[in-house]
């Protein structure tokens, strides 16, 4: 329980004060936050709110979208990522999750898009590290390759991250995105060896996928992912950091937040630990 972290998008129905109160009441020690609600509330105020509730911030979601070819768009993306780093530093988290970006409109050049991400990491990495924040490249499920993230496997994420110092760029291991991949155990071990694991996130895979597929994540235990196996793999790779539950699911958002959190705690105890 000391390692469980609740990503706020899982209980989107909660305001930041409700999140702080609800998590503290449930005995949680950590939360993962998202930029939009933090920005509305004010990063410093949000930091104080969490601190006062005894909650550490395990990650901030999300920077990224670094694949634009248009120079103006690219400059704006870099500026926005520097702002995200600043917000992460204010919140006291050392991890900024990056969703790297898909293909620009009309482009079919996956390799070029991946290289532009590398160029952006080279620019952003030192800025982040100076502020005590590490960029965490999240491989997203291949079904998001066109429109959200051309980094589709843990191997690709590590290929990118390992071009930079480990203190600047790490990777996210999210069960939802990686569960299908028969090379993932070896890549988790590689991530551990090269000191690249920056975050470990849990969600289950359920079908049928909804239109647009973004909001189809399942509650722990409702789907096809062997969650305990993942935890064992990542611990064998040396990870003893937070275990963050991040589920985007309108069914969970429609319920009472405290009830959803209690269900997560129960599933976590039975299926992950």
């Amino acid at each position: 329980m000391a390692r469980l972290s609740l990503n706020q998008e899982t209980v989107k129905q909660w305001s930041l004060p409700e999140l702080a109160e609800g998590c503290a009441k449930a005995g949680l020690r950590h939360v993962g936050l998202w930029r939009a609600p933090v920005q509305s509330y004010g990063p410093e105020r949000a930091a104080r709110l969490m601190r006062d509730a005894g909650l550490g911030v395990t990650s901030l979601c999300r920077g990224g979208f670094l694949t634009a070819t248009d120079p103006g768009e690219r400059a704006r993306a870099l500026d926005d990522n520097r702002a995200a780093v600043d917000e992460a530093a204010t919140l006291g988290t050392d991890t900024l999750v990056l969703v790297s970006g898909g293909l620009p409109d009309g482009s079919r050049d996956l390799h070029g898009a991946r290289e532009r991400i590398a160029d952006a990491l080279a620019e952003l990495g030192p800025y982040a590290a100076e502020r005590g924040v590490r960029l965490a490249v999240e491989p997203l499920h291949p079904m998001f390759a066109a429109d959200r993230c051309v980094v589709s496997t843990l191997a690709q994420a590590l290929d990118l991250a390992e071009r930079f110092p480990a203190g600047q760029v790490g990777v996210v291991v999210d069960t939802y995105h990686l569960w299908w991949d028969d090379t993932v155990a070896g890549q988790i071990a590689r991530a551990g060896r090269s000191g690249r694991i920056a975050a470990f996130q849990l969600a289950d895979w359920v079908t049928p996928l909804p239109e647009g597929v973004l909001l189809g994540r399942g509650q722990l235990g409702d789907g096809s992912v062997d969650l305990r196996w993942f935890r064992e793999q990542i611990e064998a790779a040396g990870w003893d950091g937070p275990v963050e539950v991040e589920i985007f699911n309108p069914g969970l958002w429609a319920r009472d937040g405290a009830e959803v959190l209690a269900e997560i705690v129960d599933r976590y105890r039975r299926l992950v630990l």
Copy 2:
């Protein structure tokens, strides 16, 4: 044009006689067929129909679904696959496409499911080869791993196929399923070296994906796939067989079949050749 094949599911609005007539009129030499319409029409009658229209059958879709753990269900699946081999032989095609099957209800054991596929290939391979038919394992996009096919990459399909003689088990290279994978060029080359390429299928990747994601394939050129790059890769690997267009898309099914086929021929000439 001599290599273009139209998979009948692309113009599902056409009956088999309409398909034969429409393809012959458009100057096509090949079609790919599906079991259900062939069974309704009668396999021998369908074979004659295609032969009389001057059309070769490049593949039959689909056998597979070989992951059941229940012994009765498994025996029925093997029987059904033997029937599919017989139908392929009757149609005069040397290629039976296999969609290998997802996880059984409640199972999270991807490795076990993949091993059951291997066991089934060991049983079915000799039966197929004796009838002049090769089993073609199709890796499906990872978004289908739970409910349709635990074989998600070309590397996995080749790992399976290469356990058996090349005359018994090959693989399908389908752009829709494989376009996102940065290891695919190397795996296509590997498939060529080991004589495993059994079919080459084209569809484009378009977003947003529809609910259930099965019917979201795009017309050639409408999406993110570099189709010409794929053709060049597979030709460099030695493939000079048919290029089959297989698109499941209700938008295409709602249109006049001849118009859809004319559009495909045009896109094929401009974007693939």
